[in-house]
Symmetry: C2
Subunit: 243 residues, 2 copies
């Protein structure tokens, strides 16, 4: 029995949904509404003391961190494999996941202003202080504070956009050269880790960068990813309905 507590627009949740769909695993989904701070509710903190999404519950045991969850699913349900066989390639895969995880702050700058900022900007100072008090990570505290009171400037968004292009797309372009996949000769959790990022870059952040002129191999990879049945089933709906 697999239960997934997730958000439709959360990048980490999207990774895990994609992994579950690639594996063909059924699961019971529970949507956690971040705008209503459900991920900080006492019930949720019982299964995930960090107050982040997603949480996977398998056989009654909870797990957090999307990269860890995906690798757990691959070890528990090895077929079809989503990790290379060779230890060195596995290591490169793990470092890719870590590297992309480290870029999440740049994505949040674009993501949170859509739905979370609307709610957060209406909190009183006292409500905001209460929210911030309950957030363990400094980076996330800052993100909520900015969503609530001080939207990121065009300059800051530009810097985040540049970082996503140079540290993700440029590196992917180089990595995809040998086989068309990020590591080894096949689709892996490294590709899954990149998908929610490339989706948002293509959709809103820098669409022309995910094209044949700027990053032709990424463009080809992105077309292949979207053509996979698991991608449709994982429901990467448009981030903002008015886009």
């Amino acid at each position: 029995m697999i239960i997934l507590h997730h958000g439709w627009r959360s990048s980490a949740s999207r990774r895990v949904r994609l992994c579950l769909e690639e594996k063909g695993l059924g699961y019971e989904g529970h949507v956690v509404d971040m705008a209503r701070l459900e991920h900080h509710s006492p019930e949720y903190l019982k299964i995930n003391p960090l107050g982040v999404i997603p949480t996977l519950i398998h056989d009654g045991k909870p797990l957090h961190e999307s990269g860890t969850i995906c690798e757990y699913l691959d070890e528990t349900y090895p077929d079809p494999p989503l990790r290379p066989d060779a230890p060195y390639e596995r290591a490169v895969m793990r470092n890719w996941i870590r590297h992309i995880d480290g870029l999440i702050g740049n994505l949040i700058i674009f993501n949170w202003r859509h739905h979370l900022a609307k709610t957060a900007s209406q909190w009183s100072d006292q409500e905001l202080a209460e929210v911030l008090k309950n957030i363990p990570s400094k980076e996330r505290q800052e993100a909520w504070l900015r969503a609530a009171r001080k939207p990121y400037s065009e300059e800051e968004r530009g810097a985040a956009r540049d970082k996503l292009v140079t540290s993700l797309l440029d590196r992917m372009e180089a990595a995809l050269k040998p086989s068309g996949w990020m590591v080894g000769n096949a689709y892996s959790i490294a590709d899954i880790a990149a998908v929610p990022f490339v989706k948002r870059i293509d959709e809103e952040i820098a669409p022309d960068e995910v094209g044949p002129r700027k990053h032709p191999r990424v463009a080809e990879w992105w077309a292949k990813i979207q053509a996979r049945p698991a991608y449709s089933r994982a429901k990467f709906d448009p981030f903002v309905t008015t886009l």
Copy 2:
């Protein structure tokens, strides 16, 4: 053929040395002197574009990130095993490593002031600017800037100390309860990840916290760790000779 580019006092290097010694693997060590910025030299950046230590080179292929390196060594040389067999416990082990990695900023506050600050404080503004320009990570830029120009205050050190106690020692105390090891029933890479942190806490940061009164299970674990032959061979010399 295993080559390790490392620093004696670097926490990540200490983890990898400990892992190699637990495995009984011989290696050729190359010391990288961070105070002389050898990790930013063109030769070093060729094997590690991030300019961090350590780098493991195995069969000519370079790897960075201590957690990734340790798991790679365990996959390549499975005996003696340093990971639990059960996928869930492996996942918990990986999340421990990630969690401890996220605390490194709190350790740097105590570590860098000893040897790196002495050198960095003598740089001219131009030399400092040149150094900062070549550091990819914002967190590390800040750490060098503080080492060079603005030592951390007693208040900042206090906050870092508290964080290490609550987010590492308190959590370890709970995790060690079932078996005396951090995950499952045996010594694993999760324990290795914690060792360089507990060493520094015990040595200088908060020695009374690593004792029978405050964290009895951590104290017992720490005694067991230090009694292992691999610990001596990995050379955790005193951090500062005058301590």
